[in-house]
């Protein structure tokens, strides 16, 4: 079972266990990580589960779809090269230890 770490804007790190087949967003909401809203529930339709993938992990998550790409343009916080929607990051075993940085806002 992979575990992932969400780093809050104040630097606080929150390490949590993921279940098989979950997305990073689902893991976050199940553990009540503040800073991940996920208003659409994981359908890539709202851009409120925005994260910045930590530099060391950029190559690992699955490729970005067109929907996600378009939504990130409208995300509330600044879009950066490492921006992703956490609902589109499925936590396969090779993402064990993944570090995701939270933006200062989702709305």
């Amino acid at each position: 079972m992979p575990n992932i770490t969400f780093v809050h804007p104040d630097g606080r790190a929150q390490r949590i266990d993921a279940s098989d087949g979950e997305s990073a967003m689902q893991t976050a909401t199940r553990h009540d990580v503040s800073g991940i809203l996920a208003e659409c529930g994981g359908n890539a339709m709202c851009a409120t589960c925005h994260v910045y993938v930590d530099e060391g992990w950029l190559a690992r998550p699955p490729a970005m779809g067109d929907d996600e790409d378009a939504l990130l343009d409208g995300a509330a916080a600044e879009r950066r090269a490492n921006s992703r929607l956490s609902c589109q990051i499925n936590l396969a075993a090779d993402l064990d230890g993944l570090i995701l940085n939270l933006p200062d806002r989702q709305l």
């Binding site: 909401t29 208003e39 529930g41 359908n43 339709m45």
Partner: protein, 411 residues
Amino acid sequence: MSATSRIDSATPERSAPAGVPHLDVDPFSTEFFEDPHRIHDLLREAGPVVWLEKWAVYGVARYAEVHGVLNDPLTFCSSRGVGLSDFAKEKPWRPQSIILEADPPAHTRTRAVLAQVLSPTAMKGVREHFTAMATAKVDELLARGSFDAVADLAEAYPLSVFPDAMGLKQEGRENLLPYASLVFNAFGPPNQLRQKAIERSAPHQAYVAAQCQRENLTPGGFGACIHARADAGDITAEEAPLLVRSLLSAGLDTTVNGIGAAVYCLARFPDQLARLRSDPTLARNAFEEAIRFESPVQTFFRTTTREVELAGHRIGEGEKVLMFLGAANRDPRRWENPDRYDVTRRTSGHVGFGSGIHMCVGQLLARVEGEVMLAAIARKVASIEITGPVKRRYNNTLRGLESLPITISPA
């Protein structure tokens, strides 16, 4: 008393499939509209899949099965209609929707167009104006003190922002709510509500058909943005008016009932209004929770494209499956204290806007409208008191009120 009767049944007597619990409840009756929760509980507890004798359809009312059906659109299709009527057997009452009543791959292309027109970026463009209009509306209502929260707030506010955002002309806007009411009644069975709505539909249909045309839509509005996508080659010139029609069908009455639900919640649960007032940033979640709690869109159907096993039951091809969104949103298997309206609840995952590829394409617009209205209430209103009889409005799909007399006091 029931708005429907046995002779309305769409299909002649069919026996319940073996092993599937069968119920004789009618989810399209006034009895149901008045109090769906008791019957939702009955449906959920009967089993993961039930058979509804009255209309000879399968039903799912638990969260897991509703979510599962919504997220398997190739097995549970929309192109045969998302109401009781099966388009493989019956002619649709209006030209079929090219987004709501479509499956991939056709749906993927039209969906992408509306998703872009109603994107988070597009919402940034309307937010400031919507906020100013909500603030002005609450000021006006505070000056009046007592009013009907349905007509004067839940309807008046969306009517003051949505038609302009679409780019509609002033004339004829009184057709918008009757048209939407018709569309949502038409998803239901051939009961009185549906038949009467269709009988009276000609002027509303004519109005909407005309407003979908490019020359009737103001530049810069959502309608014009859709037509611009035809220029870009993403859709054809014939498809553009049909996509405008989708927004006119589903973009107004839904937010009316969503905002109405939220105000009704805040009026009934003063502790939650107090919580919201203490932290107006909860406004957006308070709206979302009202969508979960009341589920303004109660039901949709799907049609099976093949024989499928659902929660251990075999369902044949060409069967209608009725999804009880409102029941899923209060399923104790998924929600803690489901019957409690809690503005701090983590609402992510509710199916009030659906789920999967057909999830409400206007959900961001609905949230902006709901949030800015509830934020204005949170800042300016100290109390909401119900001062007269609360009357329910009957619609085959939409849950909402006909009348909610309230008195509000300033903060």
